[in-house]
């Protein structure tokens, strides 16, 4: 199988998986005891002269649930794939896509620095502790890794906010979205969320890069390099990092996608950043079905395409991988 066929196959599979996932969301919607019907029915029943049954029927008509399931399904699928996601019920009649696009920059604002920092810190600490195994630094790094994993993100966030925001007053407690982007104020209010997310993200990368690098620490080519008198910096960057980077690349993508989904929601709520996670959260609180559905699907799509990217990058980076086997 050539590389092109492989990519085409993966792409087809991704489209298929997306199709299935969107269908599942439709089934869930159809099966849910619809809160909206009863709400509309309640509103309609408050007008005198309509019976409860009439009101319910009117509500169904308004929501389109009186049509057969199959028609609703096709309509739903077409709307979903043409990005015709409807109007947000809570945002004063704004388009759902518009609200998502408005929120995305704020998510990027803290997730881009987080990504860059955690990759640099995680990988370099991991490589260093692999080459200095069982040293004091290695133990400290391992401890830090466990700490970063075990501490609940949101809890760490509020503790930091209390210490540096409420007690010391160094950073604002509430995120100010209208501050200019490239300013000292913005930097100040981004520090804490970035610290919280970096401690969480670095952990996995550090442990993983350490384990990967350890496989090469004992390798023959390393002994040769050392015997030739290659400096330890060059050994780490050229002889260990290069082969270890391939599997690292793959965990990197899936790890960072996790950030967009679960951690970002909690951190955005704690620091009141008006990004994608907070949008999802508010949509749930305000019972805004189109918005809940769309933000969820955006998260799922990020995950699905991230997976595709990961598979392809793996085959591009590692020539030993054959396209035929999927293990």
């Amino acid at each position: 199988m050539s590389f092109k066929t492989y990519v085409a196959q993966r792409l087809l599979w991704t489209v298929f998986a997306t199709f299935i996932i969107v269908s599942i969301t439709f089934l869930l919607l159809a099966a849910s005891p619809n809160a909206q019907v009863s709400q509309f029915a309640f509103e309609a029943a408050q007008n005198p002269g309509t019976s409860a049954e009439e009101a319910r029927e009117a509500a169904r008509q308004r929501l389109g649930t009186n049509q057969p399931l199959w028609e609703r399904y096709t309509e739903y699928m077409i709307n979903m794939f043409t990005l015709n996601w409807g109007y947000s019920q809570s945002g004063g009649g704004q388009l759902v896509t518009e609200r998502i696009l408005n929120a995305l920059p704020y998510t990027a604002l803290y997730s881009v620095p987080t990504t860059i920092l955690s990759v640099i810190i995680g990988v370099s600490i991991g490589l260093y502790s692999a080459t200095n195994q069982y040293s004091r630094f290695d133990y400290a790094a391992t401890f830090f890794a466990f700490f970063g994993y075990a501490i609940p993100n949101f809890w760490f966030g509020i503790i930091l906010l209390v210490i540096f925001g409420a007690w010391l007053g160094w950073v604002p407690i509430i995120f100010q979205p209208d501050v200019p982007w490239l300013s000292f104020e913005m930097l100040k209010q981004l520090i804490l969320p970035v610290i919280v997310l970096v401690t969480a993200q670095t952990t996995g990368l550090m442990r993983y890069s350490r384990a990967e690098a350890l496989e090469y620490v004992e390798a023959e080519f390393l002994k040769t390099a050392k015997a030739k008198g290659v400096s330890s910096y060059r050994v780490i960057t050229r002889h260990i990092f290069r082969p270890a980077a391939v599997p690292l690349m793959t965990i990197l993508i899936s790890d960072l996608l996790g950030l967009f989904i679960a951690s970002s929601l909690l951190v955005e709520v704690v620091f009141s950043i008006p990004g994608l996670g907070r949008l999802t959260f508010n949509a749930i609180l305000q019972q805004d079905t189109p918005l809940v559905l769309s933000t969820t699907l955006v998260g799922v799509m990020i995950a699905v395409f991230g997976n595709l990217l990961q598979d392809i990058s793996y085959t591009v980076l590692d020539p030993r991988i054959s396209y035929d086997s999927r293990e």
Partner: protein
């Protein structure tokens, strides 16, 4: 599960399980363990039917101790029964292997501490709710500080302990203080232990069961079944469970039962993959061929040779999976999207969030417990990987 015979080890003659050897004919003869489990499950079923048909809704099932058995409680009973018959009983019946595991496990001191801590949490969570009354709201007792600490007199309405120099001191009546609405934090922590253990153990059991069955079937049956199952796992692994749960609670309402079900039914993908690849390796080995040529049926081979061999991988993976479940639960409770009627640690953290600047203990105490529980599961997972699988050298 883990203690069934490990073929890599030399068995002494007295270790041969003659009963199991005699039931070679298939699974028609049920082993003693399975019989005991079935009996217990039947008892739970009878109890359940009694509750379902004879006890009116919202009435306590067991009136003496005012216990209205919830859906989660039922699942927890079944889980405990399985753990008793398939973990504790084999460990007791097989003292030599138990001693071996203990010797291996003991080498890792952090893991021994973690094990002690988790046993403490588990025991307290199991017994505590029977001894301690439920934490009640008592507004006049709000913001009591923990013992040996004090808070400015402006916050508590009424100081239970000593009040001096404008500060209210904590008492042993509320050793860990109270929340803003006067709930005793010590009791909340004990009740939260029950919730954490329920989440960890029930969800763990669901994940192990589904993951192992799917993985073993995919590896052993192969062909189309393998392809379909593993493709499904692909999709499931890409779908973020957290978002699925958000969607589901939005559509169907929130409860601990829902949480356990959703995370149990959708997080087994990784386990299934592990079991499959491990089982594929095992099927190549001679003892499987030997068993097959001696006429052992497929189910027997899977049950007797494949499952015991993959169990160490599965248990380790699940131990490392449980902490993320606890973190998700706490996160959801913090977002007020958890089950509001369940006193989980996340709920307490969330309750104390806005008071953190003066009443630091409300959020901090449950946070510390959560932190150590997650840490303990991680240490144990690492140690189990070393202890249960002598083939694998640790990558530390």
């Amino acid at each position: 599960m883990a203690t069934d015979t490990d073929p890599d080890r030399i068995e002494r003659f007295e270790d041969i399980d003659w009963q199991a050897t005699e039931m070679r004919g298939g699974l028609s003869a049920v082993s003693r363990k399975a019989f005991g489990l079935l009996l217990t499950l039947a008892a739970v079923c009878v109890f359940f039917l009694y509750d379902y048909y004879l006890v009116r809704k919202r009435k306590p099932t067991v009136p003496v101790i005012e216990w209205d058995v919830s859906q989660v409680d039922w699942m927890f009973m079944v889980t405990l029964a399985v753990i008793f018959f398939y973990v504790l009983l084999p460990l007791y019946e097989n003292p030599r292997m138990t001693r071996y595991y203990w010797r291996e496990f003991r080498k890792n001191r952090a893991a021994v501490f973690s094990g002690g801590f988790l046993l403490f949490v588990f025991g307290t969570g199991l017994v505590g709710p029977l001894l301690l009354p439920k934490p009640e709201i008592a507004l006049e007792l709000g913001y009591q500080p923990p013992v040996f600490t004090s808070v400015s007199n402006n916050y508590p309405i009424q100081c239970v302990g000593e009040a001096a120099n404008g500060r209210c001191f904590g008492t042993f009546q509320h050793p860990l203080g109270t929340t803003g609405r006067g709930k005793d934090i010590f009791r909340l922590i004990v009740y939260g232990m029950t919730v954490s253990m329920q989440i960890g153990l029930i969800t763990g059991l669901i994940i192990i069961t589904i993951g192992t069955i799917v993985g073993a079937v995919a590896a052993y049956v192969g062909g189309l079944a393998d392809e379909v199952l593993m493709r499904y796992v692909d999709i499931q692994l890409t779908f973020p469970t957290f978002l699925l749960y958000l969607l589901l609670i939005y559509l169907f309402g929130q409860s601990l039962f829902m949480f356990i079900l959703v995370f149990g039914v959708t997080s087994w993908g990784l386990i299934a993959r592990l079991v499959r690849s491990e089982a594929l390796q095992r099927t190549e080995e001679e003892y499987i061929t030997a068993a097959q040529s001696a006429g052992a049926p497929n189910l027997y081979v899977i049950w007797r040779h494949i499952l015991p061999n993959v169990s160490s991988t599965v248990i380790t993976a699940v131990t490392l999976l449980i902490p993320s479940l606890l973190l998700y639960e706490a996160g959801l409770a913090f977002l007020q999207l958890g089950d509001p009627s369940i006193p989980s640690w996340g709920q307490v953290i969330s309750a104390g969030r806005s008071d953190l600047s003066f009443a630091w203990w409300i959020s901090t105490v449950p946070g510390v417990f959560l932190f150590f529980t997650i840490l303990a599961f991680n240490f144990i997972g690492d140690a189990l990987r070393d202890a249960l699988d002598p083939r694998q050298t640790t990558q530390e």
